[in-house]
Amino acid sequence: MNSSVATEVVRALKLAVFRRDASGRLRLHPPVPDWLTALWPAAAAAGESAHGVSPFLDNFLIDAAVYWESGSGPGVGSGPWLETDGRGGEHHLQGRALTSGRHALLLVEELGPAFDERRGILQKAHEVALDYERLQRAEQALAEEKRLLEQRVQDRTAELSRANLDLKSEVATRQRYAEQLRALSLRLVEVQEAERQFLARELHDEIGQLLTGLKLSLEIFLRSAPATGAPSCLEVLEVLDELMQRVRQLSLDLRPHLLDDFGLVPALEWHFKRFFKQTGIRVHFRHAARQTPVSPQLTTAIFRVVQEALTNVARHARVPEATVRLWTAGDWLGAQIEDHGRGFDPEAALAAHASSGLFGMKERAELLGGQFTLDSAPGSGTRLTVEVPVAGTLSVPAALHTQEDSP
């Protein structure tokens, strides 16, 4: 190549060419590019050594020296680096150590448009990589969040199903308790009734018989010896009569034997008569001519309800009369006690929990699988209705927990 053409090429490429002399110094070969003058004016002026002007170049020259000593291969490159000149101008440079014939050459070029393009691509590549990284992180964060959410849903579901199981067993337990309570209540009523029956019998049959015997003996004694101590004996007889009367009453209060011996209707009729005598309240009794025979348990329950309801009439209603109805409809036995007295607020009375009468009636009815209805309002009388299944005595399979809801 013509040497002036070579010079033009070197100038156009903004190339600084150094040649190593025998002493190992690097001599700058003209033309001197502008960037070199701007960066290292002293070196440019001296036209020699590239040593000491740039730490980067100094470091590269160690690799270059190794290469030049070995004297083989296509040369070594420094890779790009950046220098800033005295006026703040930036110069991207790149060095290359070569051998050409016998000459050891160092070429340093200022990187031009081709490098800018490479830089742009690299910049873009990095930005894309970083964007991708960001995206991946966001995706991971989302996946993690999703996993956590799923875990939470799973935990919650497990918790709920556990709670559901707990609830089911709780319901079952309560149901069992309710059944036990019901059985116990029934048993209590039975025992109470049996006790009353026993006491009534004892009073009537044993004590009554003894008293009757005593009275007879006393009368015989009086007849045989009328003169002796007559006044006090007559007094004793009077007390004895009174005592017999009381025992009889007590026996009847406890349990009218009519109930056991003749059934519900005669027992009720007898009770109404006695009630009238005690309270002056007349009871109108409406009932079918023929009664279906029912269990003693049922008979007792109905009798007790009517008894209690009439006691309430006497105590609270302030009326001269009341009506009691007794009927059977299908398999149901019904009784109703009605008065046109003062009336009251049933809900308030039941909520007050202050009394046991209404509760007792309600409980008796429900224990037998029946219904208890109370119609009353202040000033408009009271109607109390009890309906129990005839078949339903001890075992009532109806769902127990609905008892609370039934009227």
């Binding site: 730490p55 470091n59 890779g79 790009p80 991207h92 490479r118 590549a125 990095h126």
Partner: protein
């Protein structure tokens, strides 16, 4: 008195803030815009450690990745280095560990400080505290830095400067 001059490299994964740390430390500048470093840029900063003047030649190297691998010949003659990781990108700490072992095998056990940069991005913090504790237990010097706010930056270079001036803790071995 002319200060002692030491070469210090900044190494780490791409875009962790090596250039930003140097710019903050040397020029008190910071830019949000990311300009990828290609090759090498060298800056100098003189500081005092006690009554010793020290001139640090800061070699800001391109981030190590598939596009540009860490060039071992650039490390030659280093007295120490700043290993940089981005606290908001946890994997750059793993990369830093890998780079550290490569640097150590190229230049030997010279002093270094780990800068966990971008400490201002607290809400995106992504480094495993246990891994850090383990490194600290290994004797690593770790600094949280923010080139953006300037926090911890001067300290990183001062820490390293002290290490550079401290007498070598390892025996020099046979001549």
């Amino acid at each position: 008195m002319t200060p002692i001059q030491k070469k210090v490299c900044l190494v780490g994964a791409v875009s962790v803030g090596k250039t930003s740390l140097v710019n903050r430390y040397v020029h008190s500048l910071f830019s949000e815009k990311y300009l990828v470093t290609i090759g090498v840029k060298i800056d100098a900063k003189t500081l005092r450690v006690g009554d010793v003047g020290l001139r640090l030649l800061l070699w800001d190297l391109a981030g190590d990745d598939d596009f540009q691998r860490l060039n071992a010949s650039y490390l030659r003659g280093s007295a120490g280095y700043v290993l940089v990781a981005d606290g908001s990108r946890g994997h750059t700490l793993d990369a830093a560990l890998d780079i550290q072992s490569r640097v150590a095998s190229a230049v030997g056990p010279i002093p270094f400080v780990l800068a966990l940069n971008k400490s201002d991005l607290r809400d995106q913090w992504d480094v495993d505290g246990r891994a850090l504790a383990e490194l600290a237990a290994r004797g690593w010097l770790i600094r949280h830095t923010s080139a953006k706010l300037g926090t911890g930056v001067q300290e990183v270079f001062e820490d390293l400067a002290r290490l550079l001036l401290a007498p070598a803790s390892t025996p020099p071995g046979p001549p």
